[in-house]
């Protein structure tokens, strides 16, 4: 079955086609929402931003040049909106050292259980990463973005993307080690 390409939808949206907008929204809204929710950590804020992102798409579709995938363009807009909110909040991301300190405070039942369940421990540690590290890990593993598209979304060179991914994974291993799970790497 043939489906209309995202690029075609954007072309139609540029011409004011509301139905094309509904199709594009249905196709991408969940992933865009989750990407922003992981950054802003607030469901209501992420929903508000979601409307703003797609409203920008409606307004800017005529200017889309197709240099990257439409999903990459959407995530770039989403990232900009999410970071703007974080800046407005003046909210400092939880520092990695602080996060580690909190986890070290006590080997409570929750942590003990996490030690038994490596998957759960990994997910908890993924949530403890800095916004910068969460972002690159989500883009690579969940949003399935190749190196060049991550670079386009984040606005850094491709080499920096690889380096950032390495340090994000390294930090993940350190957090796991603090929970008693030694992966033997790095």
């Amino acid at each position: 079955m043939q489906t209309t390409s995202d690029e075609n939808l954007i072309g139609r949206i540029g011409g004011g086609d509301r139905l094309a907008m509904q199709v594009l929204y249905a196709r991408h809204h969940v992933r865009v929402y989750r990407f922003m929710l992981r950054l802003v950590r607030n469901e209501a804020t992420a929903e508000d931003l979601l409307s703003d992102v797609f409203l920008d798409v409606w307004r800017q579709a005529g200017k889309f040049e197709g240099r990257s995938a439409v999903s990459t363009w959407l995530l770039s807009i989403a990232r900009f909106k999410a970071l703007s909110v974080l800046r407005q909040r003046g909210e400092e991301e939880l520092d990695d050292e602080q996060a580690a300190a909190i986890e070290d405070q006590a080997d409570d039942p929750e942590i003990a259980m996490a030690k038994k369940d490596k998957g759960e421990a990994l997910r908890q540690c993924l949530s403890k990463l800095s916004a910068e590290h969460r972002e690159v890990i989500d883009l690579v593993y969940y949003h399935e973005k190749p190196v060049d598209e991550v670079a386009a979304i984040v606005g850094v060179p491709e080499a920096t993307v690889k380096t950032r991914m390495f340090y994000a994974r390294k930090k993940l291993s350190e957090l796991l080690k603090q929970r008693g799970i030694d992966r033997g790497w790095p």
């Binding site: 011409g15 509904q22 929402y33 409307s51 040049e65 593993y141 969940y142 993940l172």
Partner: protein
């Protein structure tokens, strides 16, 4: 493992997250697979990457989805936006490419035939006008009466891509329809569905009837 080996492994190891996600190019896939086959320590580390990938997906999938409120807000804002003319963007080439790619060979052939007929008719009209002028006669088209857009009832129709030219011609003839414009953006045709301006209820009834024909993919009333 020596330092030299560790250094050589580093380049490949950097690629493992993208290899796990399936987003590497063929050349890099080949490099990674060769290295994984030759280096047990790298293969062990790749298992760590796979665990991270699986848990990142799991974590994101449990985040839930936005409520209907987000869509309602968005489309209320869109409806409040001023109407705009179709944009002629830098993406026009891609749109034209997509349009033709979406058409079946039958539809393309049919469109070409329709365009050829239009050119012949136009040439005929011009010829008659020139002939009349030469003979000192007044302006009179060879075909009458006029079907200017001010008359009649019109609809936008998109035909099923798999419909043949014969199917579409039969549909037009059987329902006494005339194509006024097209193909327009999105593969639409502006079709005169009645020679006079019908009342809305009659027009809607006619459109509902036409909609049931298997060659019709989309139909909506238009001016």
């Amino acid at each position: 493992m020596t330092t030299a080996n560790e250094s050589g492994r580093g380049d490949i190891e950097d690629l493992l997250p993208w290899y796990a996600a399936g987003t590497l190019g063929p050349r890099d896939i080949q490099r990674v697979e060769t290295a994984l086959a030759e280096d047990p320590e790298l293969a062990r580390r790749y298992q760590l990457v796979r665990e991270e990938s699986a848990q990142t997906i799991h974590l994101n999938e449990t985040l839930g989805a936005p409520s209907a409120r987000a869509a309602e807000t968005l489309f209320a804002k869109i409806d409040a936006e001023p109407a705009r003319a179709p944009a002629i963007s830098g993406n026009l080439g891609a749109r034209i490419r997509d349009f033709f790619a979406a058409l079946s060979p039958h539809t393309v052939a049919w469109s070409a035939a329709a365009a050829a007929i239009a050119i012949v008719l136009q040439a005929g009209v011009i010829g008659v006008v020139l002939l009349n002028e030469k003979n000192g006669g007044g302006y009179e088209t060879a075909s009458a009466p006029s079907t200017s857009s001010g008359d009649g009832t019109y609809a936008l129709i998109r035909f099923q891509p798999q419909s043949s030219a014969a199917d579409i011609t039969h549909f037009l003839d059987a329902n006494k329809l005339n194509i006024a414009e097209g193909p327009l953006a999105g593969g639409l045709f502006r079709v005169r569905i009645a020679p006079t301006r019908l009342a809305q209820t009659d027009r809607d009834r006619l459109i509902t009837t036409l909609q049931t024909d298997q060659v019709v993919s989309f139909i909506a009333a238009t001016q």
